[in-house]
């Protein structure tokens, strides 16, 4: 109760500071950041010592640590080195071979909960498309997908370098919206896009959109990118669009889905793969626009370290406790 009370009071103060005082936020200097890291590590060591002495911590302590590990790095001004993995490089190579004016189909098959991982990928991918004058066609097999696409597009259009290009809806990019039916939508798109998307997201008829008017089906698409958080997603796209219609495509997957895709990557069914936030950060680095994917990486590394620490502590407890005790 006490903790909840303190958090509540702090929250109100912070909010008032933001609204009334024009408070601009906190940022830890590198020195403070390092001190925080050391304190965190020291407290974990202390827990390890406690465990060695036979005093086990409860799961709420684990929860607390996860919370801290995720939020504190958001304040820090230090950053982390990013190494490009081969599958990310492969995706980048695939799109850098496309000529300007290439028609790129991007399928947004996720909803807001997966946005922290996939939205940075979407933004980085679209950023590359827009700066290289690709024509972008957006669809969604998840009801909220097209909306996520619009969020990303609106954000990018506001950037000065893209605003300068004066991109036109319907000519440079379209959002065809959502269609229910999972893999059957993909299958029918193999026959005709228009049959599945008679109108775009805001109700314009397909044939009124200059960009897609002459696009019948996958044979008119140069490259396709699928952002997937589950079913329907990359697996269905590969099974239908790639296997049956020969579409060339890359995938952006949540870290959970990514391991499943290595099969397709190895079999040559996928041309490139971004896996989780790492993939997003790596891709941001390649396209030369570092944003949330990169910024969140530090939090992610911290969280990983905390999980690793607790796996170790748990196993120490297990060995000390005579390999029997169940927590």
């Amino acid at each position: 109760m006490l903790v909840a009370g303190i958090i509540l009071v702090l929250t109100v103060i912070a909010y008032l500071a933001k609204v009334v005082g024009g408070f601009e936020g906190v940022q830890f200097s590198p020195t403070v950041s390092v001190i925080v890291v050391i304190l965190l590590a020291a407290s974990l060591l202390w827990i390890l010592v406690l465990t060695l002495k036979g005093r086990l911590i409860g799961r709420r302590v684990v929860f607390l640590y996860v919370g801290i590990a995720v939020s504190l790095p958001l304040f820090m001004s230090i950053s982390q080195k990013i190494v490009i993995s081969p599958e990310t490089q492969q995706l980048y190579d695939a799109i850098s071979e496309l000529p300007s004016g290439a028609k790129v189909l991007v399928s947004f098959d996720y909803d807001p909960p997966s946005a922290p991982e996939l939205q940075p990928m979407a933004e980085a991918f679209l950023y590359y498309c827009f700066t290289h004058d690709f024509k972008v066609i957006v669809i969604g097999l998840w009801p909220q997908g097209p909306q996520q696409a619009n969020l990303a597009i609106d954000k990018l259009l506001a950037l000065p370098e893209i605003e300068a290009k004066n991109l036109q809806y319907g000519i440079d990019y379209v959002n065809l919206g959502y269609q229910a039916g999972n893999e059957f939508v993909i299958q029918r798109m193999g026959g005709s896009f228009e049959s599945m998307f008679p109108t775009d997201y805001s109700g314009h008829p397909y044939s009124d959109l200059e960009l897609v008017r002459n696009i019948r089906n996958f044979s008119n698409i140069d490259y396709s990118f699928n952002l997937s958080a589950g079913y329907p997603g990359t697996q269905e796209w590969v099974q239908v669009a790639v296997d049956r219609y020969g579409l060339s495509m890359g995938g952006g997957n949540t870290a959970v889905q990514a391991p499943m895709m290595y099969t397709y990557l190895q079999a040559g069914q996928l041309a490139g793969l971004l896996g989780g936030m790492n993939g997003a950060a790596e891709f941001e680095k390649l396209v030369g626009r570092e944003d949330k994917g990169t910024r969140f990486m530090l939090s992610q590394s911290f969280a990983h370290m905390v999980v690793i620490a607790f796996i170790l502590i748990g196993n120490v407890a297990f060995i000390v406790g005579g390999r029997k005790k169940k927590l």
């Binding site: 684990v62 996860v66 909960p113 391991p259 927590l327």
Partner: protein
Amino acid sequence: MKRQIPLFITFFVGTLLIFSVFIPPMETLGENFTLFFDIIAVFAFFLGAGNLVRVHVSKLRKRKADWGFSIVTLIGFGFMLFVGLLKIGNPGGIAADVTAPGSWFQEMFNYVINPLQSTMYALLAFFVASASYRAFRAKNREATILLMAAFVILLGRTPLGMMLTAWIPDSLSIFQIPNMAVWIMNSFNLAGQRAILIGISLGVVAMSLRLILGVERTYLGGDDSG
């Protein structure tokens, strides 16, 4: 009769769909049947929604524990039907898509469902950590192997993993943890996945055939259901 007809329907529909794959003029049969499924699912939804309302109204009537929250659920459900079916506040009027930006329906999604969804999903982070702490023990050989693989992948994706093995010369770079992580993903992981996938597909074949042939028929009701 009561049991024979459903058995026949399952057999007929299942067999037809299996063969339709090999007969071009019947190619689209699967899609059409899936359309039927979508329509049936909505009809079933009337039963589901009816059940939802009935459960919460009866909680309310009997003043069961937490009946107050049932009111909230009922109001929420009714409100969504109201704004969704009538497309209240939809900038494009009744003809536009129900999830058009700006409609009340979509706003409810953005500011109520979305944060709830995302937060519930984010709870996973906490549970992943507690599961790691509590369940990932080197209990036996299998568990130890699982633990080690997870450990390498986790380490490989952190700066610590890079630092730990950065001293290994490039000629042996495969033993650097980040490379090991990628390599485990590409070889071991692929092998395990493949065995599981092949197994699953055979399991599906056998189970589908049991259903189609009526060996498995619990869904049809008991023997003496008359």
